[in-house]
Symmetry: C2
Subunit: 236 residues, 2 copies
DNA sequence: TACGCTTAGGTCAATGCGTTGACATAACTA
DNA sequence: TAGTTATGTCAACGCATTGACCTAAGCGTA
């Protein structure tokens, strides 16, 4: 069983019952169409079958499973993230902008967010992103090994936080959680939780996204770790 | 339909076909047993039914859905995380230890990791953890509002990273990904990716966990943001 | 052109999954 | 004792995935 080796070298072009000739790219298109359909999350293998005019199981001739299909869709989206990004003069600001771009892009496609956070797409777009990010840290003065390590830390933290922000809870679930939290925070005993008591009025902010704060902290830490810019002998 | 209001106020104790009298705590126990069963991830509603000697759908009289059941199980585990934790003299070290504890606990129960990262359990254990964490930052000299905000950032980042580390890929998936990555990193063109080229020898480290590095960065940033310890007038 | 072989790839049926609505009945209440 | 209702049970839905099958596309040969 050879799978997902692209469309070019496929030779047997057998039409489905409804006459369509399948192509990997058609399946990716259809999947993206369903993902972005109004109502959201309309992508299921069965609906994909209907959308394509083929038996649902035909999809498995092209992608090992739903995961593999989603990865193919995800690689299309990384380019979207990079499209409108140009590194600027200040590496800190550029890194921040990159982080925000990734975060936004992932919120735009929650279904793919977790996948993008943990899987390597092996596509050229992912490499491009790494090249840009590591380039920024090299420019900041980090040695290559440190630049790689720090960028890995940075981008993985951004991806993980973004994936969490992107997760969609069931209808009403989020409000229910917030209400439960507000109630608990309003009613705990000062003796049992003395530290929380001191901060009681500020606990509500706990429900807002941690992303901006974490982004600040990561860049702060990198700034602190960056080699200090001073004249070195080879700069004579 | 009233659900999951604990066991005490339940009045109709009707036995299942096999004679068992159900209790919420029994269901949680059984779920935890299945989660920790050899082979892992053995928890399904249907198996839970068998384990309990009841129809699978009976579980839905006690928990709204699988998610609600998992949250109940998760609250049990937070106490496990806190059990062997005692804040020490240095707030930075204590925070680091707390982060590591959460990370370890989540890796121990991957099935529950994502849930713990995004949902509020409304249980006393979660409150306790918040109280301890915010206490550490208050001790570091942060004003209450800042302590809350910074701890939220810290703990959410730790949870998000841990959730990512905990995700289990399909069999062979992880190796396949690493191999694909190693191949791509070994063979890209120096001209297309000049920055990656400068760091070529160091790219392999990209596959190790970002958790320790991110933990360092978060604590570094907090240390930097902490009010400097100097004599203040009220300390006379 | 014709014939037969191999096999990619479309289809079908079945598995186990979470979840739900209808139903049955035992357990409490008046 | 009759009525109410909590709670167990059953059958069904749509889901992803898979193994068996079937058939036509393409190939080699004459």
């Amino acid at each position: 069983m050879t799978i997902s080796r692209g469309g070019a070298d496929r030779v047997r072009r057998r039409p489905t019952r409804s006459g369509v000739i399948l192509e990997p790219s058609m399946i990716i298109d259809a999947a993206l169409r369903l993902i972005e359909a109004p109502g959201g999350n309309a992508l299921t293998v069965r609906r994909l079958g209907v959308e394509l005019g083929a038996d649902p199981s035909a999809i498995y001739r092209y992608f090992r499973d739903m995961d593999a299909l989603l990865i193919a869709v995800a690689d299309r989206l990384i380019s979207e993230t990079l499209a409108d990004f140009e590194p600027g003069a200040d590496w800190r600001e550029s890194l921040r902008e990159m982080g925000r771009g990734v975060h936004d892009s992932m919120l735009r496609h929650p279904r793919l967010a977790q996948l993008r956070a943990i899987r390597f797409t092996a596509g050229p777009n992912e490499l491009r992103a790494d090249d840009i990010g590591i380039g920024l840290l090299l420019r900041a003065g980090f040695a290559p090994a440190d630049a790689v390590r720090h960028f890995r830390d940075f981008i993985d933290a951004v991806l993980a936080l973004a994936a969490m922000d992107a997760i969609e809870l069931g209808p009403g679930q989020e409000e229910a959680d917030k209400r439960a939290l507000a109630e608990v925070y309003a009613s705990f005993s000062d003796e049992d939780y003395p530290n929380l008591a001191k901060a009681r009025d500020h606990l509500t902010q706990i429900t807002s996204s941690p992303f901006p704060g974490v982004l600040d902290k990561l860049i702060d830490a990198l700034d602190r770790a960056a080699p200090k810019r001073k004249k070195r002998s080879r700069d004579h």
